[in-house]
Amino acid sequence: MIRVQAEDFDVGAEMAALTGARKDIGAVVNFIGKVRDLEDGALSAMTLEHYPGMTEKMLADIEAQALERFDLQETLIVHRYGKLEPGAQIVLVITASAHRQAAFEACAFLMDWLKTKAPFWKLEESDKGRTWVEAKQADNDAVDRWQEQS
């Protein structure tokens, strides 16, 4: 399941809805990305711009790849957009599997792909001004590693 929304999410409620009654799940991994303050300044807000329609398409595509590649019982991706405060939650990825290794690997895989394939752009506003966050080479390298393995 995927969702793109402005509203915050409740990790416990999302996990309970996804896995609560099931008895075939041994391992659940949740990743939560949060708005982090700047190392050299005071962030006042981070605004996430996205490409409606394409975002949903890409998230569904990334999720389908994870479901094909790993032995998973359930997955959930929730990604927020709009203006967020420091400390706010940005993204939630839940992977549920019979075994822990598949759950861990699938969650890391989904995050690596989200960083480079989900059409979001981050604008940081701080006491230093406004800056569009630059993509990191490390994120491209992280995705490349999965492609070498496949």
């Binding site: 990305g33 711009e49 996205h50 490409y51 329609g53 394409m54 398409k57 990604h79 940005i90 993204v91 995050m111 989200l114 960083k115 480079t116 394939k117 989900a118 059409p119 979001f120 752009w121 981050k122 604008l123 569009w132 966050v133 630059e134 993509a135």
Partner: protein, 83 residues
């Protein structure tokens, strides 16, 4: 043809979407980028570094050489920073 811009490209060009009718011989993304670059100084600035421009046609990523058809929805954007 609707062309969408995002992030600082949107800000430099001053709009999030524009409807353009490039001449018929413009049938791929590379040619479209050449043509858009000549539209205005703001376009030229936003599209100056071809190596970083991400392109989507009909909401799918494509390579800069990709063919275009009438009615395609084109999107041009800086490197994405999701997650």
């Amino acid at each position: 043809m609707n062309i969408h811009y995002f992030a600082w490209m949107r800000e430099q060009i001053g709009k999030s979407v524009e409807t353009e009718s490039p001449p018929a011989h413009i049938d791929n993304i590379d040619d479209l980028l050449d043509w858009l670059t000549n539209l205005s100084p703001a376009h030229a600035e936003a599209l100056a570094d071809r190596t970083i421009i991400g392109v989507a046609v009909n909401k799918e990523f494509v390579e800069p050489g990709a063919k275009l058809e009438d009615g395609d929805e084109v999107a041009l954007f800086p490197p994405i920073t999701g997650g």
